[in-house]
């Protein structure tokens, strides 16, 4: 599976011209990471922990196991980790762990009686989200929450219709917090006729975009926020890029192109299309959902079949172009621009992306349960995307997404520059380090 996955990813990434694959033979040396040398992580607990493959010099360890649906996470300079759980367990939706000198984490507390995804720290506050609201907690000098039971509610009553309802969070350096509000829909089809898209799509008024709120103002409703960017089906991974001083997000592209239009898309095409896109967003940006998708092989913005597309017809040029286009359905759930000093120079200011892995590729095998890396220079990609960490599912090829025991979700940087990865399927937190 590793070889065929690598070859498949290589193949389609080559087509979009963003990865270095030396040749397309099945020689293991054509692994898609820049460094052909791969090495196993030291985290194998007899078939339970995944054995990760990483570029030479990197190793991974399990710092915590059996957490209940860990989504995003943040690590403090004091080596405490705040982890947001998808559902509150025993009334606690945020778990606090402390990492000791041996790289093992112990649970030291928990609070917040709500499940959710978003969590981040900025300017002395911990921000966390449920699927409806955004909270913040004041931190003391050691980045410990002062009053766990009395957060300020910053934003409240955000659109939540069940589908695509997670609310990821990130702050800029000017006192604003950005929240994604996903569209509860695949492509905004008419109720009762999933082959016909609504024009205009009414969902875009209240979802399918990014909203900006004041980071220090309480009880803001969605209408009080700035509708910062639109045309984004669903975003889970987002980060602020301090080089460009702008917002970057990862969109989850649409599903089921073959079902929507069998005459224009084979099942194989439907498994690879559309691209999962990284976008840089400035105020007013429109990424074009549900009217279009990005085809990573043709490098084009194409009209969705529900809006009259046929796999060739180009969409309005005014929709923004992606910064990076990845193969379809890999479900990017975490984005982090690396600013640490532990990893080699190549990684500085580059983007790590945690891909949750696919479910919408049948009859092709599922794929994309991995952490990818894109090098950046002066705020733009300076090279091809590559697989950074792989092997979360144990290396066997499979059809059923339920077989994936570990699925990357959140990313965080430790004070020493190590990279933390959460896995919301298996409940593991990994820490990836580099040694010369």
């Amino acid at each position: 599976m590793k070889t065929s996955l690598a070859t498949a990813v290589c193949f389609c990434a080559m087509a979009i011209g963003t990865i270095a694959c030396k040749n397309s033979s099945s020689n293991p040396e054509t692994e898609s990471t820049s460094s052909a040398a791969q090495q196993s992580a030291s985290n194998n607990k007899a078939g339970d922990s995944a054995t990760l493959t990483l570029p030479a010099g990197f190793s991974a360890a399990t710092v915590a196991e059996n957490l209940s649906g860990p989504r995003h996470l943040v690590v403090t300079p004091q080596n405490d980790i705040y982890v947001k759980l998808s559902d509150a367990k025993n009334g606690k939706g945020i778990v606090i762990l402390h990492v000791d000198g041996n790289g093992k984490a112990t649970t030291t507390g928990g609070f917040g009686d709500y499940g959710g995804t978003g969590i981040t720290i900025k300017n002395g506050y911990l921000y966390a989200s449920s699927n409806d609201d955004v909270y913040r907690y004041k931190l003391d000098a050691n980045n410990r929450v002062i009053n766990e039971n009395q957060p300020e509610k910053i934003a409240t009553g955000l659109t939540n219709k069940g589908m695509h309802n997670s609310k990821s969070l990130v702050l800029d350096n000017a006192g604003n917090i950005y929240v994604n509000i996903g569209a509860p829909s695949n492509v905004c089809a008419e109720q009762g006729n999933d082959k016909k898209g609504m024009q205009p799509c009414p969902i875009l008024e209240t979802a399918g975009g990014i909203w900006m709120f004041k980071a220090d103002k309480q009880a803001q409703k969605q209408n009080d926020g700035v509708h910062y960017a639109t045309g984004l089906r669903n975003v889970v991974g987002m980060d602020w890029n301090n080089v460009t001083n702008s917002l970057f997000v990862m969109q989850h592209g649409r599903d089921n192109l073959h079902n929507a239009s069998p005459q224009n898309y084979t099942e194989q095409q439907s498994a690879e299309l559309p691209a999962e896109c990284m976008y840089e967003l400035h105020q007013g940006a429109n990424a074009g959902w549900p009217y279009m998708y990005y085809d990573q092989n043709q490098h084009k913005k194409l009209v969705n079949p529900e809006y009259g597309g046929d796999g060739k017809k180009e969409a309005d040029a005014s929709y923004i172009d992606p910064v990076v286009a990845f193969p379809g359905h890999m479900a990017p759930d975490g984005l982090l621009f690396y600013t640490g000093n532990m990893f080699p120079e190549k990684y500085k200011n580059g983007a790590f992306i945690a891909f949750h892995g696919s479910w919408n590729r049948a009859p092709e095998p599922q794929k994309g349960y991995l952490v990818a890396f894109v090098p950046f220079n002066n705020g733009k990609p300076s090279g091809n995307w590559e697989i950074f960490a792989d092997g979360f599912t144990g290396g066997q090829e499979f059809m059923q997404p339920g077989k994936a025991r570990h699925r990357p979700c959140g990313l965080a940087q430790g004070p020493d520059g190590s990279l933390y990865v959460s896995d919301d399927a298996g409940g593991t937190i990994y820490r990836i380090t580099y040694h010369q």
């Binding site: 049948a362 339920g402 399927a425």
Partner: protein
């Protein structure tokens, strides 16, 4: 049994004629693969937290009218808990499928993935479709 079968066949034919469409020659398995598999998966186990399983659920094994109505209408935009769990995706309505296609698919589901429940006839789908309209 053969009498029963004949009636089913007859009903199937009349309803197909009524729709002035040909009955499909595809099997339930093929139709399932075409219209349901991407979400509910080859083994009917679905996708954790996202698309529910079709194994031993109260919908699949329960009242046929309710099952047919569900498949015709899809999930709509409000979440319905399935046997105590919620799933994040939405199911699109399948009303564009013909009566006999839905009958074949549901018969396939109800007799596979570890399920052992009676077949669904084209007539039953036709009757249920009237009530959904």
């Amino acid at each position: 049994m053969s009498k029963h079968f004949l009636i089913l066949l007859l009903l199937g034919c009349t309803s197909a004629f009524a729709q002035t469409k040909q009955t499909t020659t595809a099997t339930g398995k093929q139709l399932y693969a075409q219209y349901c598999l991407t979400c509910h998966q080859e083994d009917g186990e679905g996708v954790p937290n996202m698309n529910p399983p079709l194994t031993q659920t109260s919908y699949v094994l329960g009242d046929k009218k309710k099952l047919i109505a569900w498949v015709l209408k899809g999930s709509g935009n409000e979440k319905v808990p399935i046997d105590g769990n919620t799933y994040s995706n939405n199911m699109p309505p399948q009303s564009a499928l013909k009566d006999d296609e839905i009958a074949k698919i549901l018969t396939y589901i109800r007799s596979n993935f570890g399920n052992k429940a009676s077949a669904v006839s084209t007539a039953e789908v036709k009757a249920a479709r009237e009530t959904v309209k």
